[in-house]
Symmetry: C2
Subunit: 321 residues, 2 copies
């Protein structure tokens, strides 16, 4: 298929074209990677969605939050895309958004688009592909792109590198558990959202929120934050309370960053980051070329037999390349 035509269809908001384009960027095949690069280069660049990273460990109610938050945006005539970077899918092939029934209402909305995490590749690959899927959703005219990840390992960093705003979703918890959130992840958050502020947990949620608000005040103020940010808020995704307030704060923060020049600066830095990551991936992919692979395999046998040291063999291989 012609990539310019596919780009036009994506830009026209055709869902099937978008799904097909995402499948293309998720492919690891060299010819598909080349086509994907062409496609991404042909997309309109004058549209910007609000890219929102969302992290939270299993059990904090991420799906419920995304569904309720997404439905609220849909009610405001916004188009919402939901993507995921799932570090576990790299090994298991499983996927945090794999089960669409988890977002039953949202998935049936015409203005919503939900796509599970690409699987069966390493985290770096998953992240780069999701970043390209974000670009496609943006070009397709979505107003908000939510990028979900789970609160473990390096996936937060990857999601932060493709987001304009980063939300950390937490459950109400006793004071002792506060320390369970890694400092590095807390430092990424623009808004800490304490979910489940309903029923028996309401008081605990309020206290947890206050604890995190206190912890956030101890962090050094970041230049990209106006007064009062980062902040902690409570919501009940179940009872639809607090969601409008979170959205309002997100709009305030993003407007401030646009005005202050941080928005464009961050996007430029992120583009540099992904360019370099992509160059590395493509360079390493060259080791899969048939001739190279055969040479590697022969040298690998010499290394395994002990005839050559791994470092010496690697040096020889690189010298010949």
């Amino acid at each position: 298929m012609d990539m310019d035509e596919l780009a036009q269809r994506v830009a026209a908001g055709e869902r099937r074209a978008l799904a097909r384009a995402i499948t293309l960027v998720e492919s690891g095949r060299a010819d598909h990677r080349a086509q994907a690069a062409q496609l991404l280069g042909a997309l309109p660049t004058d549209r910007q969605a609000l890219r929102v990273g969302l992290s939270g460990t299993p059990g904090v109610g991420k799906s419920t939050f995304i569904e309720s938050f997404g439905m609220m945006l849909i009610a405001q005539d916004k188009r919402v895309a939901v993507l995921a970077v799932d570090p576990s899918s790299a090994r298991s092939g499983g996927s945090i958004l794999g089960d669409k029934t988890r977002m039953d209402r949202l998935s049936r909305e015409a203005g919503a688009f939900i796509r599970p995490s690409p699987s069966q590749t390493h985290l770096g690959g998953v992240a780069r592909r999701t970043r390209e899927a974000v670009r496609l959703c943006e070009a397709a005219g979505f107003d908000v792109v939510l990028i979900e990840t789970v609160g473990v390992g390096q996936s937060e960093t990857a999601v932060a590198e493709m987001s304009d705003l980063f939300l950390l979703l937490l459950a109400p918890a006793g004071g002792d558990e506060l320390q369970g959130v890694k400092r590095g992840i807390m430092e990424m958050a623009d808004i800490i959202v304490v979910n489940k502020a309903d029923g028996d947990l309401k008081a605990t949620a309020t206290r947890t929120c206050a604890d995190y608000a206190g912890a956030l005040r101890l962090l050094r103020k970041r230049p990209q934050d106006p007064d009062g940010f980062p902040k902690a808020m409570t919501v009940s995704a179940l009872e639809d309370t607090g969601l409008a307030q979170v959205w309002s704060e997100m709009e305030t923060l993003s407007a401030w960053r646009r005005d202050a020049g941080f928005w464009e600066q961050t996007r430029a830095d992120q583009a540099r980051y992904w360019f370099l990551e992509d160059v590395k991936q493509r360079l390493l992919a060259r080791l899969g070329d048939p001739d190279t692979k055969a040479a590697l395999s022969a040298l690998s046998d010499d290394v395994a037999s002990g005839a050559v040291d791994p470092a010496e063999a690697a040096q020889r291989f690189i010298d010949r390349l």
Copy 2:
């Protein structure tokens, strides 16, 4: 310096030559990497130390264990080297073996050699360099090389890829905390060593050991294990109890693996693994060549300005390379 001569001095067991050789393999400079490859290729290959990976979270008494265990081996006229793969040193520059006073007695022994983890590079680099330091210690005639790491993230995998045996050190704990050990790490362990089986904690240690023994029996039997392995044992590094039994089981296991052919097979597979890792590192290092770096930087500016999409720019760059 001539690399053949340095290799000879290392093989003669000269400590200063060994220290110098390790400094060389830890260097990231391209000319040093080439020299290191030459050096490693010139080492004798007829000596094999027992390479022992050792993991445990902070607080389980790793330093005390290594010191007591090392002193026991020294008393048996064995030469012992201690190295480290420290995932945290990659960012902070700190190092788990940085403070030699932690192993006060062992560090003063003529038959012992303690080297902190190389720092200021990413985990993959730290791991490769440590693997090469293991090779150097082996060539220098050490009988046992202990490779220490902390129980977080991917460093265990790296250490397991350079070890003949893998020990997991744990502290006595209530039954609930059992789940805190990741299944993947438990599956790597040949022997789970529950430390601090002394004083008030003795009974808890025995119970913890029984719990882990039970958990290990639930794991699928690995082909490289004789009956009864992997196993759980208690020790007190403080009171020097149980250490001889652990060593005895290590000898039993390694003898069995040698006889059954798993020893050589594992080492061959590991050599292949590190060869491929090293090729990848060296390939990526080429991006640092002055011309390449300048071209990357120019394209990166175009990407940051939005003139080109990251993927398209990466494709162009690779096509030109």
